[in-house]
């Protein structure tokens, strides 16, 4: 079983495999993008290369009934996570820690994150309880996320 990094994003406990996180960064200046997806805060420089930029997403933007997420949260933790079409930055509310052991549990997925949770069906990734506290977490799926923001198959995000 691979260790996982557990975090709070959009008010929900999510996790990704530790090996799937390229790096953790402190949110720096964000350049907003015209006509960007609601969940896209903007782009941010990463690393020492001036031209190396990454889009920063806030999962609160996926909840269309909620107010739009802030464009910039200075000092927020951003997890850089690879996807099939390139890296994304995921804005975290808080990093909760890591866990080496977890077990699958049957837990209802909160509606506003349902679109980005792994539903692949592997028993240990459907949902799990965690060594860190008692609350369950859900696995963040990059494939589901890419589809949720309209990037899959070259599709354009909805208006």
């Amino acid at each position: 079983m691979q260790g996982v990094l557990v975090f709070l994003a959009a008010g929900s406990r999510l996790a990704v495999a530790v090996g799937d996180v390229l790096r953790l960064m402190v949110e720096g200046p964000i350049a907003p993008i015209p006509f960007g997806h609601r969940a896209l805060a903007g782009i941010m420089r990463q690393g020492d290369d001036d031209d190396d930029v990454v889009p920063v997403f806030d999962l609160r933007g996926l909840d269309e009934g909620a107010p739009a997420p802030p464009r910039h949260v200075p000092g927020a933790t951003v997890a850089i996570i690879p996807t099939a079409i390139g890296p994304i930055g995921l804005r975290l509310d808080r990093l909760l820690g890591s866990a080496l052991r977890y077990v699958a549990v049957d837990e209802a997925i909160p509606g506003h994150i349902a679109r980005v949770v792994d539903r692949a069906g592997r028993a240990d990734t459907v949902g799990a309880s965690l060594d860190i506290g008692e609350a369950p977490f859900f696995f963040f799926s990059t494939e589901a996320f890419v589809a949720a923001v309209g990037l899959a198959d070259g599709a354009r995000p909805p208006r």
């Binding site: 782009i43 990454v54 889009p55």
Partner: protein
């Protein structure tokens, strides 16, 4: 190196190709609000065109080469001429409705600036104009 005009449009920091800016009609700033009648034509706010709220009551005014006719655009501020290498394309993970509008990013004075494709921008201007005519 490419030469462009750095402008602010609402929250967006943009670089417009200098070759497509025919004239700077007004550098903006100052106290007196812009009177559109002085231009003889209703200018189009670049910030509004991009779906944002303008941040200046006294915008700069640019005369642009449109695809058919000249276009008067306003922007919230001028940042001056930028000489920079060709923009670096945006990552494919940038989720936006008009990806062709942005040629990529350049770094100017330490900040990320979005290089705009003037031809696509003019298409957007004319599309909005047609929509406005339909509404009226």
């Amino acid at each position: 190196m490419e030469r462009s005009l750095g402008v602010d449009a609402g929250p967006y920091r943009l670089a417009l190709p200098l070759s497509s800016v025919r004239q700077i009609l007004d550098v903006g700033a100052g106290d007196a609000p812009l009177d559109p009648r002085s231009l003889g034509v209703e200018p189009i706010s670049l910030a509004t065109l991009l779906g944002a709220t303008p941040t200046s009551a006294r915008p700069a005014v640019l005369l642009f080469d449109g695809t058919a006719d000249p276009v008067v655009l306003t922007c919230c501020g001028l940042r001056g001429v930028i000489d920079a290498p060709a923009p670096r394309p945006l990552p494919r993970t940038v989720a936006c409705r008009w990806p062709g509008l942005l040629r990529g990013t350049i770094v100017h004075q330490g900040e990320l600036t979005l290089a705009v494709d003037a031809r696509v921008l003019m298409g957007l201007v004319e599309g909005e104009g047609a929509l406005a005519r339909e509404r009226s």
